[in-house]
């Protein structure tokens, strides 16, 4: 609608702005907060991407270690990604330490085969031990030092896109010593070789085995549907320590079921470790499967239950309530037992709780879980997904 004839047109703010523009124009300086954020982002970028293959490595140790950090050197680019070299050294504030070195050929035979050689040294001075079996008491808490060195060669194939299978051969040397926790007695003071098998001997084992893994999940790291089924068999042969040789089978079954949409899902897991050990020829306690902690029964302390065999189940209901945020409520149940013939659903210990997960780049990079059981509640802050 043009202005009426004779009517004074309304002032045009655009022309007014142009006319009132100050003659000397200033550069649009970023505010201090913006500059600080930019600088911190650059710093984090260097931290995560590294420099010349070097970068800090955070976490990746056992529960109870506390926050671990150290340098890592990784080269994935050698021969156009055909060769991987990696080595790291980590120390936690509780003086746990880990050094490892890895050489891998991950894409042999046109991505169909792989070979991996891994050497690891660990010194874990405050691992908890409560005694054998499902009826051990919280009050019997002790600690011990586990120092182990291993070298493992793995060779495998991917005959189909979602299937991996292969074999492993390794050598393991284990040294067990007094723990360093001031609040609890050291294990050798409270237990004997009868109640802590292998306590009086250092272990030397050669191990051969095989594995099979089927993975048909949709998103690695944070699946919304599909399943991962794996089985790993290992034959531990005592070399010179006089400890019993034994065979061990680990079966891990995970299923992810989204319903209505990928925003919510039920994640199920069943895990069992079975050995051919018996009460007369038990697995050394430091090689026994353990129950309790952020990855098994979250309402119990880590390493709460030791025995020759275990079985546990996890069920989680997860729902995304915001971009990058997911809630979960969960229930865990499981038990340890001395003979594999006792694999059944009787006497399961239960825990339950809720957790918050923070996603980045479609992966859970941090989770906080609160797990409760009849032994109290535990809070877990972990830099990985639960399963």
């Amino acid at each position: 609608m043009p202005p009426c004839v004779g009517e004074e047109p309304r002032p045009n703010p655009v022309l007014a702005a142009q006319q009132s523009r100050p003659p000397e124009l200033e550069v649009d300086e970023a505010p201090a907060l913006e500059r600080a954020l930019k600088a911190s982002e650059e710093f984090l970028k260097v931290l995560s991407q590294g420099y010349n293959g070097f970068r800090p490595k955070i976490g990746g140790m056992v529960p109870t270690s506390g926050l671990a950090i150290g340098p890592e050197f990784v080269r994935r680019d050698i021969a156009q990604g055909q060769v991987l070299l990696r080595t790291s050294a980590r120390v936690s504030y509780r003086r746990y330490s880990l050094f490892d070195a890895e050489f891998a050929l991950p894409r042999l035979g046109g991505d169909r085969m792989f070979v991996n050689l891994l050497g690891t040294y660990r010194n874990l001075p405050q691992l908890l031990y409560f005694g054998q079996g499902p009826h051990s008491s919280q009050r019997d808490r002790t600690d011990y030092r586990l120092e182990d060195t291993s070298a493992e060669l793995t060779a495998g194939a991917r005959p189909l896109k979602r299937i991996r299978l292969g074999g492993t051969a390794s050598y393991l040397r284990v040294n067990v010593g007094p723990g360093t926790l001031a609040q609890v007695p050291s294990t050798e003071r409270a237990f004997t070789p009868a109640t802590a098998p292998g306590l009086d001997r250092q272990g030397y084992f050669s191990i051969v085995g095989g594995f099979l893994e089927v993975d048909y999940t949709d998103l690695p790291g944070s699946p919304r549907s599909g399943g991962i089924y794996s089985a790993r068999f290992r034959n531990y042969v005592d070399q010179r320590s006089g400890l019993p040789s034994f065979r061990r089978l680990d079966v891990d079954l995970r299923q992810y079921v989204s319903f209505f949409s990928s925003q919510r899902l039920i994640a199920l897991r069943a895990y069992s470790t079975l050995t051919d050990a018996s009460a007369r020829r038990p697995v050394p306690f430091y090689l026994q499967p353990t129950l309790g902690g952020p990855d098994t029964l979250r309402g119990f302390r880590p390493f709460r239950f030791y025995d020759n065999n275990l079985v546990f189940f996890n069920a989680e209901y997860r729902w995304k309530f915001a971009s990058s945020f997911e809630m979960a409520v969960f229930g865990d149940a499981g038990k340890v037992f001395d003979r594999r013939s006792r694999l059944n659903l009787h006497g399961l210990k239960a825990s339950y709780g809720a957790g918050l997960r923070i996603n980045a780049v479609q992966n859970v990079f941090m989770r906080v879980d609160l797990g409760c059981s009849h032994e109290g509640c535990q809070v877990w802050l972990r830099l990985n997904n639960s399963y």
């Binding site: 045009n12 022309l15 550069v27 649009d28 970023a30 209505f260 729902w319 780049v361």
Partner: protein, 438 residues
């Protein structure tokens, strides 16, 4: 009965009072005399500016930068022609809606004469600084520079296709965008820059490391999007509010620019939820002896169903990155409240990602980050934009989608049908009763 009458009378009186008050506050659509074309003033020294993405997110999520419509104040779009159209400027050029183009012209977009030369190696000058996917800045044998961007390994053609299609559409809609090319190349095409003065150049092993994670086609070649470097001096992104203080020609607050308010509708149509300041770029160009700032939209790798590093999240386009109200609802509902966007059928093609029209409601669409210009849109702005969207025929849409060079014909079908359906919803929402589609 008397009571009801009395209440009715009170309600009518209240409504009348409110209407009068609103009329007093709202001067109605502003119509100014046609301003004479203001000649561009040559700019002086303009330093590149950076906008931190986190700060941009926080400032726009928790603050209200710029002059906002609402609370009794109405700011109509400024700098318009007297017919309400947006004049040609360094921000915008009228194209498809007012000067119809042929299909080949639409597909050509900003240009097709600067594809990277295959006559020699592409020298990797630096790593791509912005964005989440790895990439390089390369120089071909003719000295032309490009940003080389790759697809996420699990979603071949997803980001490069979206980027390519997005640039064609945004160009046809009137914006300045880079010339993009889909390229296929072998590893040996890339060479590290050995110039001694270029200390930041990736070495051969760095190039290998970046390529190691990428998926190659059955012919062993990599697919990428090569984005031709913009002309002129790059001086950083623009904000969607305020003006650039060092640009004498930038006098209209950006939140009052119709081409930026209406951009909301275009981004909703193309599901370009990553439409933030970080995906804009100003350059200083010289024409007829006058240097001025030209404003570009860049990086459409987050358009259509692409989330740049994978397919879009289901909530993209429906919720802000930080959106307390729906987040709280979904938190306390334990996930049992399932919004419609979470239930709709999606394409199974990895090249499409998440892109649908079933749950799409134009006026409820949201980008990642609240945008002052988008939030300032008025019915005049959205009607203007909807007319631009309505100007695209089904055949034109298909031809522009095919520019994404998808190998899966079903991907082309899905994207085309979705864009047509979303266009129809936009027309229906903003141009009720107007002739819609052809």
């Amino acid at each position: 009965m008397a009571q009801i009458k009395q209440q009715l009378l009170r309600a009518i009186a209240l409504a009348a009072a409110l209407s009068l008050h609103a009329l007093a506050q709202d001067p109605g659509p502003a119509v100014y005399p046609e301003p004479k074309a203001t000649p561009l003033i040559s700019v002086g020294e303009i330093k590149p500016q950076k906008i931190d993405e986190v700060q941009d997110l926080l400032a726009n999520t928790w603050g209200n930068p710029g002059q906002r419509n609402g609370k009794g104040k109405t700011y109509p779009a400024q700098g318009l022609r007297s017919d309400g159209e947006v004049p040609d400027s360094p921000w915008y050029e009228n194209r498809q809606a007012s000067r119809r183009r042929s299909i080949p012209e639409l597909v050509r977009g900003p240009g097709t004469s600067n594809a990277p030369s295959l006559e020699g190696p592409w020298v990797v000058v630096s790593a791509k600084a912005e964005g989440v996917m790895p990439g390089f800045v390369i120089r071909d044998v003719r000295g032309r520079r490009y940003v080389l961007k790759f697809d996420p390994p699990a979603y071949p053609e997803l980001a490069s296709g979206a980027d390519m299609v997005g640039s064609k559409f945004f160009h046809a809609l009137g914006y300045y965008v880079p010339e993009d090319y889909i390229v296929y190349f072998e590893r040996r095409r890339l060479k590290a820059d050995t110039a001694p003065q270029n200390h930041a150049a990736p070495r051969e092993k760095d190039i290998d490391a970046a390529l190691a994670f990428l998926k190659r086609g059955s012919n062993g070649r990599y697919r990428a999007l090569a984005s031709f470097f913009l002309e002129g001096k790059l001086v950083g992104p623009f904000r969607f509010n305020g003006t650039r203080p060092d640009d004498p020609n930038d006098t209209i607050p950006h939140e009052h620019r119709r081409e930026l308010r209406g951009l909301f509708v275009f981004c909703a149509w193309l599901n370009h939820s990553d439409s933030k300041s970080g995906n804009t770029l100003d350059t200083v160009v010289t024409k007829d002896g006058i240097s001025f700032v030209k404003h570009y939209l860049i990086d459409f790798g987050g358009a259509l169903g692409s989330g740049s590093i994978g397919k879009k999240s289901a909530r993209d386009g429906y919720e802000y990155l930080i959106d307390p109200a729906p987040s709280l609802t979904q938190l306390v509902a334990l996930g049992f409240y399932v919004p419609k966007w979470a239930r709709v059928r999606q394409s199974k093609s990895p090249a499409v990602g998440r892109f649908e029209a079933e749950a799409f409601e134009p006026e409820k669409w949201k980008p990642f980050v609240p945008n002052p210009a988008f939030l300032n849109r008025l019915p005049d702005d959205t009607r203007w934009a909807a007319r631009q969207v309505a100007a695209f025929t089904d055949d034109e849409i298909r031809a522009m989608v095919e520019a994404g060079q998808y190998t899966d014909p079903q991907a082309v079908d899905w994207i085309t049908k979705t864009l047509i359906a979303r266009r129809n919803k936009i027309v229906s929402a903003y141009l009720k009763g107007a002739a819609s589609t052809r």
